[in-house]
Symmetry: D2
Subunit: 315 residues, 4 copies
Amino acid sequence: MTPLLTAGVGPAIQALLDDLVASHRPSSPAGRVPESIPHLASADPLAFGIAVAGVDGSMASSGDADLPLSIQSISKLFSLALALAHDPEGNLWSRVLREPSGTPFNSLVQLEAEAGIPRNPFINAGALVVTDFLVELLGDAAGSVVGFLRDLSGSAHVAVDEGAAQAELAASSRNRALANFLAGFGNLRNPVETVLEHYVRHCSITMTCRELARAGLFLANGGQGGPGGQPVLSAAQTKRINSVLLTCGMYDAAGEFAYRVGLPGKSGVGGGILAVVPGRCTVCVWSPGLDAKGNSVAGTSALAELTARTGWSIF
Amino acid sequence: MTPLLTAGVGPAIQALLDDLVASHRPSSPAGRVPESIPHLASADPLAFGIAVAGVDGSMASSGDADLPLSIQSISKLFSLALALAHDPEGNLWSRVLREPSGTPFNSLVQLEAEAGIPRNPFINAGALVVTDFLVELLGDAAGSVVGFLRDLSGSAHVAVDEGAAQAELAASSRNRALANFLAGFGNLRNPVETVLEHYVRHCSITMTCRELARAGLFLANGGQGGPGGQPVLSAAQTKRINSVLLTCGMYDAAGEFAYRVGLPGKSGVGGGILAVVPGRCTVCVWSPGLDAKGNSVAGTSALAELTARTGWSIF
Amino acid sequence: MTPLLTAGVGPAIQALLDDLVASHRPSSPAGRVPESIPHLASADPLAFGIAVAGVDGSMASSGDADLPLSIQSISKLFSLALALAHDPEGNLWSRVLREPSGTPFNSLVQLEAEAGIPRNPFINAGALVVTDFLVELLGDAAGSVVGFLRDLSGSAHVAVDEGAAQAELAASSRNRALANFLAGFGNLRNPVETVLEHYVRHCSITMTCRELARAGLFLANGGQGGPGGQPVLSAAQTKRINSVLLTCGMYDAAGEFAYRVGLPGKSGVGGGILAVVPGRCTVCVWSPGLDAKGNSVAGTSALAELTARTGWSIF
Amino acid sequence: MTPLLTAGVGPAIQALLDDLVASHRPSSPAGRVPESIPHLASADPLAFGIAVAGVDGSMASSGDADLPLSIQSISKLFSLALALAHDPEGNLWSRVLREPSGTPFNSLVQLEAEAGIPRNPFINAGALVVTDFLVELLGDAAGSVVGFLRDLSGSAHVAVDEGAAQAELAASSRNRALANFLAGFGNLRNPVETVLEHYVRHCSITMTCRELARAGLFLANGGQGGPGGQPVLSAAQTKRINSVLLTCGMYDAAGEFAYRVGLPGKSGVGGGILAVVPGRCTVCVWSPGLDAKGNSVAGTSALAELTARTGWSIF
């Protein structure tokens, strides 16, 4: 183990990140990109970026860490955190469970069997319920997620890619089916189209790896680090989000990711993965090529090497 | 066995129908009515009507056989017949199967497992595909079903209950979910809302037992009996619709209905059942109280007694 | 339509059967044979036989109608009939349903969801329950089925292929799993191995097409035709078995068979199909090559042509 | 946070454990005990014990920590560790996955859908495969698990409760079904009854909380601590077992346990739970009353309070 085990983020990290870029950036297109989402299908298949943000405020990055990526499902993590920040009593948890789904992320089967209560907030159905919760609470759910991410990342560049959002909204048959299904069970309180639009828009936010790593830092820091020195969440809430990330954050591959990487993390079909090393740092990696489960191929393997070399696994 | 076995519909039938009304009309509300559909929830729970139409043109009825009922899923039978009348090559069958579903009628599970191809045209998903087929073919699908039923029944009173349709459309989350799900698999060719509106409207047609029995008569008559003496369908098409009715016409209780009644039939949550005695007659029975599977309690038991007493089972 | 529509089985039938043999006997191996069952895997893939038995006692056949075939699941029909012959009150029906399964024939899913009550007596789980019922009732269940089939067919050659049965028993992991699963739900009353052995043995009975057609004749004859002129079953029981055959007799292809052929029927993975034309005759066809659902390819197409040419569909 | 955060196990721990016993020991029977397993049904419903073993070799306990309990599914953890100790290349992982099951622990559904490859080694199907692997490797699988546990715990009292095992074996229809199902898919290499007997016997081992806590200590210690100072597993293997414990160790409640407790853990229907605090200690808690998911009610709530008060959550 290296000295970086005892410091936040030091110079040894930079060398490690450069190494990971050198060995994990695809030399030819690998994996698949989501054909159903036009702006993702056009992403550079050879892109690869990685950033580490330390709880001491330090930051290191390598590769394409300053290029904007579509955060996609990583927004589910931040919309959940925003909802819980307004919900200290946890009322949200009567409308969504915290169990791994065991089935592909857009499956309707489990939802039907369990009467409209999604298994967790990171499958699409659960994230629609969280979005509905935010619409009820804040009105402009998508705008609020953008504002939350700007505050957390300290970057004014965080924004919805509106063209991408409109294209995705037009192709959202599956999510529209899910939302109507939830509505049929009484688990949406706002109109389906409203919820769906806010959902698609906060999934269409673009950010860089550096911005994402910084935005997620409160999860490594016991909830501390909001704007003006305020905590984002309580320490207990933060631990619990991390636990849900670990068991449910990687679609149908949560077990495999925990096994190989050993960190709480959330992936998106844009190819990004944001991982949390509690008490130490966050890591954001990005590469567009996806595996069969929807997770970045190069991103996952880079994170596996990262934790193997640093000992940062929580286990 | 009685002489009615050798004639179309004779005086012995009238006595039998009166008997069935006397013994099967509920004396107190029994079964359930669909609470989610306001105009059905207000139906008279003690209503009971029955009508028999013979292939020789005779007609007998008893009880509330002249009161209009909401035909609901019975319209799926006529929209299928109308589609096949325009589809001699059976192109429709590439988009919907002909197998019993084995699960409740609005389940999404099987649809997902089989990539958006509904198991048969009588579950909601299948009927949405048939409606989409009619919209593509004829434009005004619901209006065409109304016209088809007027022609077949010879009654100008057949019409959509537009108030009921609008109320049902507003409460159609499950069917809207299904339609979006089908669209996500590429198995709808028209806009979801268009298909859904035509679907709900043709389900909201009101007809009497006598009108329904007459409208279905071509199914007992080898497809003969359209307006102007034209056949409605070929003999082969007719036999095949009857086979799909027998295996799939009673939601999740097709096996039980075949066992107890022994006739092809289609039920609706309005409490109506239209049954076919090939070569002889059709029978339409109506009573609003439903069993757990969505079929009329009194209607099913009356039909069971009818076939027991007449020997009209096809088996 | 030909004169054979008004007679039982006349000379025109012979010509028709010869025709069917000429046009449906495979000229090269088609379909698959069950690799897991050694003695079936070695069947002649070009074999094809057909026999028709009339309710008037007449009989016609063509092709390999006198070669013995392994009846396999066709025995489920006779074990059910034997059980019901001893169960006029229908106690069996509290332990097995009468609904199509909608899933492949050896699936455990539905059984688990429905607490150990098989969907119908023709899926393996249901047939195991029927066999258990016979063991309880008669002791030697397999021997009783053999005796029943000898009486019905008038042939002393009906017998269990004991070598085949032993080979199949040794490879019965799936059925052993099913039987233990049923036992876990309390729906077997005899030891698993006992039930399994009787089940495999009555499935390993060998008979010719002519013997099978004659054995099933009571189903076309209102239950009449047992040894000594006694009825085998009541008319009502007979109609009901036929209804279960129609909705559940062809594994996961019951709807398709009803659509194409239009007759109650039971198939086996030995390549045999026994179909019933109520009031008229039975037809047994055999050819070993199976389709993906486990039904004889050539047998099904021959039956489809037979009903198209004779008008014998019940619809 | 208390000083116990910086030491292994010190005097403050004793006070904490006494506190937990005082507040979590049931004052009246709560939860359910497994009625199907006679010797568990007779357990004292008011029993409650807890033990903590530190990586520095210290040990503290309170309540009924010296009473023997039936370890049941906790043996799945040790049989997995024993298998991996003999399998540095991880060949086992081609026969069992590492994903949460998302369904109750004895479900056959997922197994069927995934062609006989169990979702993880902690559901019954997966543990049967692990047992089969041990039988192949070591012959006497159950005896080897006993020996392994004696070595790890330093206690010669660890033993199979043979009477309990025989009673359970006789009532193992579900597991016998599972094992035959696995055999049908070719994922068992030894006879079903052999595997089943070894499986039931290692589940019927009895140990005290103190013995279990000590036996699991290598999981908190990077794999160190085998007999004679040898490592039990490599550090990488140890982290990975802990990750599988976290995502799959609590039947269908893994997400909820991670959320409330925040530690890798394995429960058994005997009411025991063994949890791991990596780098620090193990905790074994026992109380027989189970929740609907099969986990100890009082045990889970005591662990939740323990991690809330100590900050030992891994998140």
